[in-house]
Symmetry: none
Protein backbone atom coordinates (compact mmCIF):
# COMPACT_ATOMS: atom_id res chain seq x y z
CA UNK A 1 0.00 0.00 0.00
CA UNK A 2 1.14 3.51 -0.81
CA UNK A 3 0.28 6.72 0.97
CA UNK A 4 -2.38 8.62 -1.02
CA UNK A 5 -1.91 12.24 -2.05
CA UNK A 6 -4.72 13.18 0.32
CA UNK A 7 -2.85 11.52 3.19
CA UNK A 8 0.46 13.06 2.14
CA UNK A 9 -1.05 16.53 2.14
CA UNK A 10 -2.61 15.92 5.55
CA UNK A 11 0.79 14.92 6.92
CA UNK A 12 2.46 17.96 5.38
CA UNK A 13 -0.18 20.30 6.79
CA UNK A 14 0.32 18.90 10.30
CA UNK A 15 4.09 19.03 9.97
CA UNK A 16 3.94 22.60 8.74
CA UNK A 17 1.71 23.53 11.68
CA UNK A 18 4.29 22.11 14.07
CA UNK A 19 7.12 23.90 12.26
CA UNK A 20 5.30 27.21 12.63
CA UNK A 21 4.68 26.52 16.34
CA UNK A 22 8.42 25.97 16.74
CA UNK A 23 9.26 29.14 14.81
CA UNK A 24 11.20 27.20 12.16
CA UNK A 25 11.35 27.12 8.34
CA UNK A 26 11.26 23.55 7.10
CA UNK A 27 11.42 21.41 3.99
CA UNK A 28 8.89 18.58 4.32
CA UNK A 29 8.92 15.54 2.00
CA UNK A 30 6.59 12.55 1.78
CA UNK A 31 7.56 9.40 -0.14
CA UNK A 32 5.50 6.28 -0.82
CA UNK A 33 6.32 2.76 0.33
CA UNK A 34 8.70 2.38 -2.63
CA UNK A 35 10.64 5.50 -1.70
CA UNK A 36 9.26 7.56 -4.59
CA UNK A 37 8.45 11.23 -3.94
CA UNK A 38 4.73 11.83 -3.38
CA UNK A 39 4.59 15.42 -2.10
CA UNK A 40 7.01 18.16 -1.10
CA UNK A 41 6.68 21.53 0.60
CA UNK A 42 9.44 24.11 1.15
CA UNK A 43 8.42 26.84 3.58
CA UNK A 44 9.54 30.34 2.70
CA UNK A 45 13.08 31.08 3.94
CA UNK A 46 13.94 27.42 4.49
CA UNK A 47 17.57 26.51 3.76
CA UNK A 48 18.18 25.60 0.13
CA UNK A 49 20.36 22.70 1.32
CA UNK A 50 17.38 21.18 3.13
CA UNK A 51 15.50 20.29 -0.05
CA UNK A 52 17.71 17.31 -0.78
CA UNK A 53 18.18 16.37 2.88
CA UNK A 54 14.45 16.17 3.60
CA UNK A 55 13.84 13.98 0.55
CA UNK A 56 16.82 11.74 1.38
CA UNK A 57 15.62 11.38 4.98
CA UNK A 58 12.20 10.22 3.81
CA UNK A 59 13.76 7.76 1.36
CA UNK A 60 16.20 6.45 3.96
CA UNK A 61 13.36 5.80 6.42
CA UNK A 62 11.43 3.78 3.84
CA UNK A 63 14.49 1.98 2.47
CA UNK A 64 15.08 0.29 5.83
CA UNK A 65 11.72 0.66 7.59
CA UNK A 66 13.06 2.58 10.56
CA UNK A 67 13.68 6.12 11.79
CA UNK A 68 16.76 7.68 10.18
CA UNK A 69 18.32 8.39 13.58
CA UNK A 70 18.24 4.67 14.38
CA UNK A 71 20.30 3.89 11.28
CA UNK A 72 22.71 6.68 12.24
CA UNK A 73 23.48 4.89 15.49
CA UNK A 74 24.58 1.85 13.49
CA UNK A 75 26.58 3.78 10.88
CA UNK A 76 29.10 5.40 13.22
CA UNK A 77 32.79 4.53 12.91
CA UNK A 78 33.23 1.00 14.24
CA UNK A 79 29.50 0.30 13.93
CA UNK A 80 27.98 -2.51 11.86
CA UNK A 81 26.66 -0.23 9.09
CA UNK A 82 29.61 2.15 8.91
CA UNK A 83 29.52 4.03 5.59
CA UNK A 84 26.01 2.97 4.56
CA UNK A 85 25.43 6.61 3.52
CA UNK A 86 27.42 5.86 0.35
CA UNK A 87 24.68 3.57 -0.94
CA UNK A 88 21.47 4.41 -2.79
CA UNK A 89 22.80 7.65 -4.26
CA UNK A 90 23.28 9.01 -0.74
CA UNK A 91 21.44 8.36 2.51
CA UNK A 92 20.87 10.77 5.38
CA UNK A 93 21.07 8.96 8.69
CA UNK A 94 20.49 11.57 11.38
CA UNK A 95 17.03 12.24 12.86
CA UNK A 96 14.18 13.75 10.86
CA UNK A 97 13.02 10.82 8.72
CA UNK A 98 10.23 8.53 9.95
CA UNK A 99 8.27 5.66 8.40
CA UNK A 100 4.47 5.97 8.27
CA UNK A 101 2.86 2.75 9.53
CA UNK A 102 -0.90 2.46 9.26
CA UNK A 103 -3.34 0.83 11.72
CA UNK A 104 -2.78 -2.59 10.10
CA UNK A 105 0.98 -2.41 10.70
CA UNK A 106 1.72 -1.73 7.04
CA UNK A 107 4.37 0.80 6.09
CA UNK A 108 2.70 3.12 3.56
CA UNK A 109 5.53 5.63 3.17
CA UNK A 110 7.68 8.05 5.15
CA UNK A 111 8.06 11.69 6.12
CA UNK A 112 11.41 13.51 5.93
CA UNK A 113 12.03 16.93 7.46
CA UNK A 114 15.04 19.28 7.38
CA UNK A 115 15.57 22.92 8.31
CA UNK A 116 16.46 23.28 11.98
CA UNK A 117 18.08 21.25 14.78
CA UNK A 118 17.66 17.50 14.46
CA UNK A 119 15.39 17.60 17.52
CA UNK A 120 13.07 20.06 15.77
CA UNK A 121 13.30 18.16 12.49
CA UNK A 122 12.27 14.98 14.32
CA UNK A 123 9.41 16.71 16.14
CA UNK A 124 8.03 18.11 12.89
CA UNK A 125 8.29 14.73 11.13
CA UNK A 126 6.54 13.10 14.11
CA UNK A 127 3.66 15.55 13.86
CA UNK A 128 3.27 14.60 10.21
CA UNK A 129 3.32 10.86 10.85
CA UNK A 130 0.90 11.13 13.79
CA UNK A 131 -1.94 12.22 11.49
CA UNK A 132 -1.73 8.93 9.60
CA UNK A 133 -0.45 6.30 12.02
CA UNK A 134 2.71 5.50 13.91
CA UNK A 135 6.44 5.38 13.10
CA UNK A 136 7.13 1.92 14.51
CA UNK A 137 6.85 -1.21 12.42
CA UNK A 138 5.64 -4.49 13.88
CA UNK A 139 8.08 -7.39 13.81
CA UNK A 140 6.58 -9.23 10.86
CA UNK A 141 7.38 -8.20 7.29
CA UNK A 142 5.54 -5.16 6.11
CA UNK A 143 6.01 -4.50 2.45
CA UNK A 144 2.98 -4.48 0.22
Amino acid sequence: MHVTIEQAEKAIAAARQKALALGTQMCIAVVDSGGVLKAFHRMDDAWVGSVDISIKKAKTAVFFGMPTGQIGKLSQPGGPLYGIEHSNDGLVTFPGGLPIVDKDGVMIGAVGVSGSSVENDHAVASAGVATLGVAELPEHPWRT
Copy 2:
Protein backbone atom coordinates in the same frame (compact mmCIF):
# COMPACT_ATOMS: atom_id res chain seq x y z
CA MET B 1 12.25 37.21 -6.60
CA HIS B 2 11.19 33.70 -5.79
CA VAL B 3 7.72 32.18 -5.91
CA THR B 4 6.30 31.88 -2.37
CA ILE B 5 4.97 28.61 -0.99
CA GLU B 6 1.47 30.12 -0.98
CA GLN B 7 1.81 30.93 -4.68
CA ALA B 8 3.26 27.50 -5.42
CA GLU B 9 0.35 25.76 -3.74
CA LYS B 10 -2.13 27.94 -5.61
CA ALA B 11 -0.49 26.96 -8.90
CA ILE B 12 -0.52 23.27 -7.98
CA ALA B 13 -4.20 23.40 -6.96
CA ALA B 14 -5.15 24.96 -10.31
CA ALA B 15 -3.00 22.50 -12.25
CA ARG B 16 -4.52 19.58 -10.35
CA GLN B 17 -8.01 20.89 -11.11
CA LYS B 18 -7.18 20.95 -14.80
CA ALA B 19 -5.67 17.47 -14.64
CA LEU B 20 -8.86 16.12 -13.08
CA ALA B 21 -10.96 17.85 -15.73
CA LEU B 22 -8.86 16.10 -18.40
CA GLY B 23 -9.16 12.74 -16.62
CA THR B 24 -5.40 12.46 -16.17
CA GLN B 25 -2.99 11.59 -13.32
CA MET B 26 -0.16 14.08 -13.15
CA CYS B 27 3.05 14.92 -11.34
CA ILE B 28 3.20 18.68 -10.79
CA ALA B 29 6.40 20.45 -9.71
CA VAL B 30 7.10 24.08 -8.88
CA VAL B 31 10.66 25.46 -8.69
CA ASP B 32 11.87 28.93 -7.68
CA SER B 33 13.74 31.38 -9.94
CA GLY B 34 17.03 29.57 -9.22
CA GLY B 35 15.60 26.19 -10.24
CA VAL B 36 15.30 24.86 -6.67
CA LEU B 37 12.26 22.70 -5.83
CA LYS B 38 9.56 24.61 -3.95
CA ALA B 39 6.56 22.25 -4.01
CA PHE B 40 5.62 18.91 -5.58
CA HIS B 41 2.41 16.94 -5.92
CA ARG B 42 2.00 13.43 -7.35
CA MET B 43 -1.60 12.49 -8.00
CA ASP B 44 -2.61 8.95 -7.14
CA ASP B 45 -1.84 6.49 -9.97
CA ALA B 46 0.50 8.90 -11.76
CA TRP B 47 3.47 7.27 -13.51
CA VAL B 48 6.47 6.82 -11.25
CA GLY B 49 8.69 7.94 -14.13
CA SER B 50 6.91 11.28 -14.22
CA VAL B 51 8.32 12.41 -10.87
CA ASP B 52 11.73 13.19 -12.32
CA ILE B 53 10.37 14.42 -15.64
CA SER B 54 8.06 17.00 -14.05
CA ILE B 55 10.87 18.34 -11.85
CA LYS B 56 13.33 18.46 -14.78
CA LYS B 57 10.74 20.24 -16.95
CA ALA B 58 10.30 22.93 -14.31
CA LYS B 59 14.06 23.32 -13.94
CA THR B 60 14.60 23.44 -17.70
CA ALA B 61 12.01 26.21 -18.08
CA VAL B 62 13.74 28.34 -15.43
CA PHE B 63 17.25 27.57 -16.64
CA PHE B 64 16.56 29.24 -20.00
CA GLY B 65 13.51 31.38 -19.29
CA MET B 66 11.32 29.74 -21.91
CA PRO B 67 8.77 26.94 -22.36
CA THR B 68 10.45 23.53 -22.54
CA GLY B 69 8.82 22.77 -25.89
CA GLN B 70 10.49 25.81 -27.41
CA ILE B 71 13.91 24.44 -26.48
CA GLY B 72 12.91 21.07 -27.89
CA LYS B 73 12.35 22.62 -31.31
CA LEU B 74 15.97 23.81 -31.28
CA SER B 75 17.47 20.57 -29.93
CA GLN B 76 16.34 18.22 -32.70
CA PRO B 77 18.93 16.41 -34.85
CA GLY B 78 20.46 19.02 -37.13
CA GLY B 79 19.16 21.86 -34.93
CA PRO B 80 21.36 24.48 -33.27
CA LEU B 81 21.00 23.05 -29.73
CA TYR B 82 21.13 19.33 -30.59
CA GLY B 83 22.08 17.38 -27.47
CA ILE B 84 21.50 20.18 -24.94
CA GLU B 85 19.62 17.60 -22.82
CA HIS B 86 22.99 16.23 -21.70
CA SER B 87 23.76 19.40 -19.74
CA ASN B 88 22.69 20.38 -16.24
CA ASP B 89 22.35 16.78 -15.03
CA GLY B 90 19.66 16.18 -17.63
CA LEU B 91 17.12 18.50 -19.21
CA VAL B 92 13.65 17.62 -20.50
CA THR B 93 12.86 19.59 -23.64
CA PHE B 94 9.40 18.53 -24.72
CA PRO B 95 6.27 20.46 -23.67
CA GLY B 96 5.04 20.62 -20.08
CA GLY B 97 7.47 23.08 -18.44
CA LEU B 98 6.60 26.78 -18.31
CA PRO B 99 8.19 29.82 -16.64
CA ILE B 100 6.06 31.85 -14.23
CA VAL B 101 6.41 35.56 -15.01
CA ASP B 102 4.71 38.00 -12.64
CA LYS B 103 2.97 41.28 -13.50
CA ASP B 104 6.28 43.16 -13.34
CA GLY B 105 7.82 40.93 -15.98
CA VAL B 106 9.99 39.09 -13.43
CA MET B 107 10.44 35.31 -13.69
CA ILE B 108 9.64 34.01 -10.21
CA GLY B 109 9.91 30.29 -10.97
CA ALA B 110 8.40 27.62 -13.18
CA VAL B 111 5.82 24.84 -13.30
CA GLY B 112 6.63 21.38 -14.69
CA VAL B 113 4.00 18.73 -15.44
CA SER B 114 4.27 15.10 -16.59
CA GLY B 115 1.83 12.21 -16.74
CA SER B 116 -0.10 12.23 -19.99
CA SER B 117 0.31 13.42 -23.60
CA VAL B 118 2.53 16.46 -24.01
CA GLU B 119 -0.56 18.43 -25.02
CA ASN B 120 -2.23 17.57 -21.74
CA ASP B 121 0.96 18.16 -19.78
CA HIS B 122 1.25 21.61 -21.35
CA ALA B 123 -2.40 22.43 -20.68
CA VAL B 124 -2.07 21.47 -17.02
CA ALA B 125 1.13 23.51 -16.60
CA SER B 126 -0.59 26.47 -18.28
CA ALA B 127 -3.47 26.27 -15.80
CA GLY B 128 -0.94 26.43 -12.97
CA VAL B 129 0.95 29.39 -14.40
CA ALA B 130 -2.26 31.32 -15.19
CA THR B 131 -3.06 31.68 -11.50
CA LEU B 132 0.15 33.65 -10.92
CA GLY B 133 0.99 35.41 -14.16
CA VAL B 134 2.05 34.55 -17.68
CA ALA B 135 4.61 32.22 -19.26
CA GLU B 136 6.24 34.76 -21.59
CA LEU B 137 9.25 36.79 -20.55
CA PRO B 138 9.68 40.38 -21.70
CA GLU B 139 12.85 41.20 -23.60
CA HIS B 140 14.66 42.88 -20.73
CA PRO B 141 16.48 40.85 -18.07
CA TRP B 142 14.47 39.29 -15.31
CA ARG B 143 16.68 37.82 -12.63
CA THR B 144 16.57 39.32 -9.13
Copy 3:
Protein backbone atom coordinates in the same frame (compact mmCIF):
# COMPACT_ATOMS: atom_id res chain seq x y z
CA MET C 1 19.19 39.30 -3.81
CA HIS C 2 22.13 37.83 -5.66
CA VAL C 3 25.74 38.97 -5.62
CA THR C 4 26.55 40.90 -8.83
CA ILE C 5 29.48 39.99 -11.06
CA GLU C 6 31.15 43.27 -10.09
CA GLN C 7 30.87 42.31 -6.42
CA ALA C 8 32.05 38.78 -7.11
CA GLU C 9 35.16 40.03 -8.88
CA LYS C 10 35.88 42.46 -6.06
CA ALA C 11 35.72 39.60 -3.57
CA ILE C 12 37.97 37.41 -5.70
CA ALA C 13 40.54 40.22 -6.11
CA ALA C 14 40.71 40.73 -2.34
CA ALA C 15 40.91 37.00 -1.67
CA ARG C 16 43.68 36.62 -4.22
CA GLN C 17 45.57 39.49 -2.62
CA LYS C 18 45.38 37.71 0.72
CA ALA C 19 46.45 34.41 -0.84
CA LEU C 20 49.53 36.09 -2.32
CA ALA C 21 50.35 37.68 1.02
CA LEU C 22 50.22 34.22 2.61
CA GLY C 23 52.38 32.72 -0.15
CA THR C 24 49.65 30.27 -1.19
CA GLN C 25 48.02 29.13 -4.45
CA MET C 26 44.25 29.07 -4.11
CA CYS C 27 41.05 28.23 -5.92
CA ILE C 28 38.45 30.91 -5.16
CA ALA C 29 34.76 30.45 -5.97
CA VAL C 30 31.79 32.78 -5.58
CA VAL C 31 28.18 31.51 -5.74
CA ASP C 32 24.92 33.46 -5.63
CA SER C 33 22.23 33.16 -2.94
CA GLY C 34 20.81 30.07 -4.66
CA GLY C 35 24.19 28.32 -4.70
CA VAL C 36 24.80 28.82 -8.44
CA LEU C 37 28.37 29.58 -9.57
CA LYS C 38 28.95 33.27 -10.31
CA ALA C 39 32.74 33.55 -10.66
CA PHE C 40 35.77 31.33 -10.24
CA HIS C 41 39.53 31.89 -10.17
CA ARG C 42 42.27 29.26 -10.00
CA MET C 43 45.69 30.70 -9.25
CA ASP C 44 48.60 29.19 -11.14
CA ASP C 45 49.95 26.05 -9.46
CA ALA C 46 46.87 25.58 -7.28
CA TRP C 47 45.91 21.94 -6.60
CA VAL C 48 43.61 20.50 -9.25
CA GLY C 49 41.62 18.86 -6.46
CA SER C 50 40.82 22.25 -5.02
CA VAL C 51 38.60 23.28 -7.93
CA ASP C 52 35.70 21.14 -6.76
CA ILE C 53 36.38 21.72 -3.05
CA SER C 54 36.28 25.50 -3.35
CA ILE C 55 33.01 25.39 -5.29
CA LYS C 56 31.46 22.89 -2.85
CA LYS C 57 32.55 25.02 0.10
CA ALA C 58 30.82 28.07 -1.35
CA LYS C 59 27.66 26.05 -2.06
CA THR C 60 27.68 24.48 1.41
CA ALA C 61 27.92 27.92 3.06
CA VAL C 62 24.90 29.18 1.10
CA PHE C 63 22.90 25.98 1.51
CA PHE C 64 22.80 26.41 5.29
CA GLY C 65 23.64 30.08 5.77
CA MET C 66 26.69 29.45 7.92
CA PRO C 67 30.47 29.01 7.71
CA THR C 68 31.41 25.53 6.49
CA GLY C 69 33.57 24.90 9.56
CA GLN C 70 30.54 25.39 11.79
CA ILE C 71 28.72 22.57 10.00
CA GLY C 72 31.81 20.40 10.29
CA LYS C 73 31.69 20.65 14.07
CA LEU C 74 28.18 19.16 13.97
CA SER C 75 28.95 16.45 11.39
CA GLN C 76 31.66 14.60 13.31
CA PRO C 77 31.14 10.96 14.35
CA GLY C 78 28.62 10.98 17.17
CA GLY C 79 27.50 14.52 16.27
CA PRO C 80 23.94 15.49 15.33
CA LEU C 81 24.66 15.96 11.61
CA TYR C 82 27.05 13.03 11.10
CA GLY C 83 27.18 12.15 7.41
CA ILE C 84 25.49 15.33 6.09
CA GLU C 85 28.29 15.49 3.48
CA HIS C 86 26.46 12.78 1.53
CA SER C 87 23.59 15.15 0.69
CA ASN C 88 23.33 17.72 -2.09
CA ASP C 89 25.75 15.88 -4.40
CA GLY C 90 28.50 16.27 -1.83
CA LEU C 91 29.13 18.95 0.77
CA VAL C 92 32.48 20.13 2.13
CA THR C 93 32.24 20.90 5.83
CA PHE C 94 35.69 22.02 6.91
CA PRO C 95 36.67 25.70 7.02
CA GLY C 96 37.04 27.85 3.89
CA GLY C 97 33.41 28.56 2.92
CA LEU C 98 31.68 31.71 4.18
CA PRO C 99 28.31 33.34 3.47
CA ILE C 100 28.31 36.93 2.22
CA VAL C 101 25.76 38.98 4.18
CA ASP C 102 25.19 42.56 3.04
CA LYS C 103 24.52 45.61 5.21
CA ASP C 104 20.78 44.84 5.27
CA GLY C 105 21.40 41.40 6.75
CA VAL C 106 20.59 39.66 3.47
CA MET C 107 22.70 36.68 2.34
CA ILE C 108 23.68 37.50 -1.25
CA GLY C 109 25.98 34.53 -1.87
CA ALA C 110 29.11 32.89 -0.52
CA VAL C 111 32.86 32.58 -1.05
CA GLY C 112 34.64 29.21 -1.05
CA VAL C 113 38.42 28.82 -0.94
CA SER C 114 40.69 25.76 -1.15
CA GLY C 115 44.41 25.27 -1.69
CA SER C 116 46.29 25.40 1.59
CA SER C 117 45.69 24.70 5.30
CA VAL C 118 42.11 25.24 6.45
CA GLU C 119 43.32 28.21 8.48
CA ASN C 120 44.70 29.83 5.34
CA ASP C 121 41.65 28.87 3.30
CA HIS C 122 39.44 30.51 5.92
CA ALA C 123 41.61 33.64 6.06
CA VAL C 124 41.47 34.04 2.29
CA ALA C 125 37.69 33.54 2.19
CA SER C 126 37.32 36.09 4.99
CA ALA C 127 39.30 38.64 3.00
CA GLY C 128 36.93 38.12 0.09
CA VAL C 129 33.78 38.45 2.19
CA ALA C 130 35.07 41.54 4.02
CA THR C 131 34.97 43.59 0.80
CA LEU C 132 31.21 43.09 0.53
CA GLY C 133 29.86 42.65 4.05
CA VAL C 134 30.06 40.15 6.88
CA ALA C 135 29.82 36.36 7.21
CA GLU C 136 27.28 36.25 10.03
CA LEU C 137 23.56 36.08 9.38
CA PRO C 138 21.10 37.86 11.64
CA GLU C 139 18.43 35.72 13.30
CA HIS C 140 15.59 36.68 10.98
CA PRO C 141 15.14 35.04 7.58
CA TRP C 142 17.27 36.23 4.73
CA ARG C 143 16.20 34.73 1.44
CA THR C 144 14.88 37.02 -1.29
Copy 4:
Protein backbone atom coordinates in the same frame (compact mmCIF):
# COMPACT_ATOMS: atom_id res chain seq x y z
CA MET D 1 51.42 23.87 -21.22
CA HIS D 2 48.41 25.26 -19.40
CA VAL D 3 46.77 28.63 -19.83
CA THR D 4 47.83 30.96 -16.98
CA ILE D 5 45.30 32.77 -14.84
CA GLU D 6 46.49 36.04 -16.35
CA GLN D 7 45.79 34.70 -19.83
CA ALA D 8 42.43 33.27 -18.75
CA GLU D 9 41.35 36.63 -17.36
CA LYS D 10 42.47 38.38 -20.52
CA ALA D 11 40.35 35.99 -22.59
CA ILE D 12 37.34 36.48 -20.33
CA ALA D 13 37.67 40.27 -20.48
CA ALA D 14 37.72 40.20 -24.30
CA ALA D 15 34.83 37.76 -24.45
CA ARG D 16 32.81 39.89 -22.05
CA GLN D 17 33.53 42.96 -24.17
CA LYS D 18 32.17 41.16 -27.21
CA ALA D 19 29.11 39.95 -25.28
CA LEU D 20 28.32 43.53 -24.24
CA ALA D 21 28.75 44.72 -27.83
CA LEU D 22 26.22 42.09 -28.92
CA GLY D 23 23.82 43.06 -26.12
CA THR D 24 23.92 39.58 -24.60
CA GLN D 25 24.38 38.10 -21.09
CA MET D 26 26.88 35.26 -21.16
CA CYS D 27 28.54 32.62 -19.04
CA ILE D 28 32.22 32.41 -20.00
CA ALA D 29 34.45 29.52 -18.89
CA VAL D 30 38.14 28.88 -19.41
CA VAL D 31 39.69 25.44 -18.83
CA ASP D 32 43.33 24.39 -19.01
CA SER D 33 44.82 21.83 -21.41
CA GLY D 34 43.65 19.02 -19.09
CA GLY D 35 40.05 20.23 -19.13
CA VAL D 36 40.16 21.54 -15.55
CA LEU D 37 38.34 24.80 -14.79
CA LYS D 38 40.69 27.78 -14.61
CA ALA D 39 38.34 30.79 -14.54
CA PHE D 40 34.63 31.45 -14.84
CA HIS D 41 32.51 34.56 -15.22
CA ARG D 42 28.69 34.77 -15.19
CA MET D 43 27.39 38.13 -16.38
CA ASP D 44 24.42 39.51 -14.48
CA ASP D 45 21.11 38.20 -15.85
CA ALA D 46 22.72 35.32 -17.74
CA TRP D 47 20.66 32.12 -17.85
CA VAL D 48 21.24 29.85 -14.89
CA GLY D 49 21.31 26.89 -17.27
CA SER D 50 24.29 28.37 -19.10
CA VAL D 51 26.70 27.85 -16.20
CA ASP D 52 27.01 24.14 -16.85
CA ILE D 53 26.79 24.46 -20.64
CA SER D 54 29.65 26.97 -20.89
CA ILE D 55 31.91 24.79 -18.72
CA LYS D 56 30.98 21.63 -20.66
CA LYS D 57 31.64 23.41 -23.97
CA ALA D 58 35.14 24.40 -22.84
CA LYS D 59 35.84 20.86 -21.62
CA THR D 60 34.49 19.30 -24.80
CA ALA D 61 36.74 21.52 -26.94
CA VAL D 62 39.83 20.46 -24.99
CA PHE D 63 38.84 16.81 -24.74
CA PHE D 64 39.05 16.43 -28.51
CA GLY D 65 41.11 19.43 -29.57
CA MET D 66 38.49 20.92 -31.85
CA PRO D 67 35.59 23.39 -31.85
CA THR D 68 32.47 21.93 -30.21
CA GLY D 69 30.39 22.58 -33.33
CA GLN D 70 32.72 20.36 -35.36
CA ILE D 71 32.08 17.44 -33.03
CA GLY D 72 28.35 18.14 -33.25
CA LYS D 73 28.47 17.55 -37.00
CA LEU D 74 29.85 14.06 -36.34
CA SER D 75 27.44 13.21 -33.51
CA GLN D 76 24.20 13.53 -35.46
CA PRO D 77 21.99 10.47 -35.97
CA GLY D 78 23.73 8.21 -38.46
CA GLY D 79 27.05 10.00 -37.93
CA PRO D 80 30.28 8.34 -36.79
CA LEU D 81 30.17 9.79 -33.25
CA TYR D 82 26.44 9.48 -32.65
CA GLY D 83 25.75 9.67 -28.91
CA ILE D 84 29.21 10.85 -27.86
CA GLU D 85 27.46 13.34 -25.56
CA HIS D 86 26.85 10.46 -23.14
CA SER D 87 30.57 10.20 -22.35
CA ASN D 88 32.70 12.19 -19.93
CA ASP D 89 29.80 13.06 -17.62
CA GLY D 90 28.11 14.90 -20.46
CA LEU D 91 29.49 16.75 -23.47
CA VAL D 92 28.00 19.76 -25.24
CA THR D 93 28.58 19.54 -28.98
CA PHE D 94 27.00 22.63 -30.48
CA PRO D 95 29.00 25.82 -31.19
CA GLY D 96 30.45 27.98 -28.41
CA GLY D 97 33.48 25.97 -27.28
CA LEU D 98 36.90 26.62 -28.86
CA PRO D 99 40.43 25.38 -28.16
CA ILE D 100 43.11 27.96 -27.43
CA VAL D 101 46.23 27.22 -29.49
CA ASP D 102 49.32 29.35 -28.85
CA LYS D 103 51.86 30.62 -31.37
CA ASP D 104 53.83 27.36 -31.13
CA GLY D 105 50.82 25.30 -32.11
CA VAL D 106 50.30 24.01 -28.57
CA MET D 107 46.78 23.73 -27.16
CA ILE D 108 46.89 25.51 -23.79
CA GLY D 109 43.20 25.30 -22.94
CA ALA D 110 39.76 26.26 -24.23
CA VAL D 111 37.03 28.86 -23.93
CA GLY D 112 33.35 27.90 -23.56
CA VAL D 113 30.48 30.38 -23.90
CA SER D 114 26.73 30.02 -23.40
CA GLY D 115 23.86 32.50 -23.07
CA SER D 116 22.49 33.45 -26.48
CA SER D 117 22.19 31.99 -29.98
CA VAL D 118 24.95 29.58 -30.94
CA GLU D 119 26.19 32.17 -33.44
CA ASN D 120 26.60 34.72 -30.66
CA ASP D 121 28.08 32.14 -28.30
CA HIS D 122 30.65 31.25 -30.95
CA ALA D 123 31.47 34.90 -31.68
CA VAL D 124 32.06 35.62 -28.00
CA ALA D 125 34.24 32.53 -27.56
CA SER D 126 36.22 33.56 -30.66
CA ALA D 127 36.86 37.00 -29.19
CA GLY D 128 38.25 35.33 -26.08
CA VAL D 129 40.52 32.96 -27.98
CA ALA D 130 41.80 35.72 -30.31
CA THR D 131 43.53 37.48 -27.42
CA LEU D 132 45.74 34.44 -26.83
CA GLY D 133 46.13 32.64 -30.14
CA VAL D 134 44.01 30.71 -32.59
CA ALA D 135 41.38 27.97 -32.38
CA GLU D 136 42.90 25.63 -34.96
CA LEU D 137 45.36 22.92 -34.04
CA PRO D 138 48.20 21.95 -36.37
CA GLU D 139 48.27 18.36 -37.58
CA HIS D 140 50.94 17.08 -35.24
CA PRO D 141 50.14 16.02 -31.66
CA TRP D 142 49.75 18.86 -29.23
CA ARG D 143 49.47 17.71 -25.66
CA THR D 144 52.11 18.85 -23.21
